[in-house]
Point group: C2
Chain length 308, copies 2
């Protein structure tokens, strides 16, 4: 039996059962140190899987930090320290320095600090970041309560459209296309939601694999049914323009597109904060499974070992 037979998440389940750890399964692992709660996480960007060498290196560095900050924020924490583990071929020094300028810029933006790391030689460039955050309260994906509203922090599907535009390698991009590309290259972790998540959310995670997949994970972890309404899912004007031009369905992008790094969380509907860009897209109900407009929703998001 190969990994592709059981998929990324099948593999993780088996490895979890070997380790018998109850801490594994959320975006971050909460640990208690004295009276403090720390959140630990790691995520990486690998050349030719997550980025190409011709992408702006500072954007790659920025994104490597952002995807980790996103995990910490999703669980209600703020980032404090990180380590950068770099595997790289014999590149131009300038290129590596540009990556680090992106890392530095991101750390300044998110108020965290690189305190160490490691450099190894390898065939492909890989930036593996380990992030430590601190939290007052851990908010995982397993706490959704019946009656909660299901919320997202921003428009979905933009990153997928941006990636497809990048892959077209056009000579000229229009402004709305550049904005979609920017969403893919330089996602911003929603640090503006830290206090809201920490204070009010019953369940929370970031949308890195695609809304439909991630809603399913939240539903399973919380052992609840989740019903979404397609007309509530926030879609950007840029994505609408992109889909019109290419004969695509924006909803399909919003449901299956990964790497938006928006937040998915639940709490009572009345906790909606009009000063944050949050939108209620559904409800938590008794039962199981995920539904959209009353029909079962099939998860179509990203699995490392099952993509074509």
């Amino acid at each position: 039996m190969r990994i592709s037979d059981i998929g990324e998440f099948g593999l993780i389940e088996r490895l979890k059962s070997i380790l018998q750890s109850e801490l594994i399964g959320d975006d971050t692992a909460p640990i208690t140190v004295g009276k403090s709660m720390l959140l630990l996480t790691c995520d990486l960007l690998l050349q030719d899987r997550h980025f190409k060498l011709h992408y702006p290196p500072s954007a790659v560095g920025w994104k490597a930090i952002s995807i980790n900050v996103s995990d910490v924020v999703a669980n209600g924490g703020e980032p404090i320290y990180c380590l950068v583990s770099l595997t790289l071929p014999d590149l131009e020094v300038r290129y590596v320095e540009e990556i680090y300028l992106g890392i530095k810029k991101a750390c300044e933006f998110y108020s965290c600090q690189v305190v160490g790391g490691n450099v190894s030689k390898g065939d492909k460039l890989c930036i593996d970041v380990f992030m430590v955050g601190k939290a007052e309260r851990f908010v995982g994906r397993g706490g959704a309560k019946i009656g909660d509203g299901v919320f997202v922090s921003g428009t979905l599907g933009d990153s997928k459209a941006g990636l497809e535009l990048l892959q077209m390698e056009k000579k000229h991009y229009e402004d709305f296309e550049l904005r979609l590309i920017e969403k893919h290259l330089r996602p911003t972790a929603r640090i503006d939601f830290i206090k809201h998540i920490s204070k009010y959310a019953n369940a929370s995670m970031d949308i890195s694999d695609g809304l439909s997949s991630d809603v399913e994970k939240l539903s399973k972890a919380s052992q609840v049914k989740i019903s979404l309404f397609s007309d509530k899912i926030p879609i950007s004007q840029e994505l609408v323009s992109f889909c019109k031009r290419h004969g695509k369905d924006p909803l399909e992008y919003a449901l299956s597109g990964g790497e938006d790094y928006e937040l998915l969380f639940t709490h009572p509907p009345e906790r909606l904060n009009p000063f944050l860009s949050m939108v209620q897209i559904g409800f938590v109900e008794e039962g199981e499974g995920i539904f959209i407009d009353g029909k079962p929703l099939k998860p179509t998001g990203f699995d490392h070992f099952r993509v074509v």
Copy 2:
């Protein structure tokens, strides 16, 4: 200018100056959380660089944990939590499970716990471990005092001989050869030295790149001269047998061979603990540079980007 023009450590110096972090430069990064001191570190094993796919996978898992524990121990801490970031091709599930059995065994041995991680698809298997330790006192490589003795925790050069034996792919190995191979495949971090390092050492690091290189790093960081005595450097009977058979010099293996994961530390000579396997191999003196038997010692250890 390419990375190979300035080497691994030249690159690290440039990246450090971009980040302007004073915490970078030791085996671990000490951070303070409430009243606790935590040590953060990461290190990885990459297929075809640090191991081959035909090595026993449980040994690869064991070693991935051990090399990180070694860094924590070197700075006077004990390991508590770790994350495992796995990049892997579409391997047999059983193979990955064997790696995790090795990881689990190591974590049980070292009394630490895997609390999370990440799985990505890639062309080569890579096990990147992020370790969190706790310490009463941080002991870095920069604290050596004039008059200190220089100590190591065990025999050196065995791992290099073990690697060369593995590369010979012999049909039959003798017992002493198997013991050398075992030293390479399954190094054990010196957790028996944690209290001693934490209590008495002025400077400490682990020997991962080779004694001569690592002594030079300690000497530079502490701004002291270090004088070694070749007849004091502990060499195993197995390495002597290996060198006799292959016409090699054991001292050369001890000075340049990496991956022994023994500890290198300094403190007043009278602090020698006869119940630990520690050996004094030299002295810390006023001045700069590293010497052996009165002559300058050239660092011949491992640099990822300068090896042939």
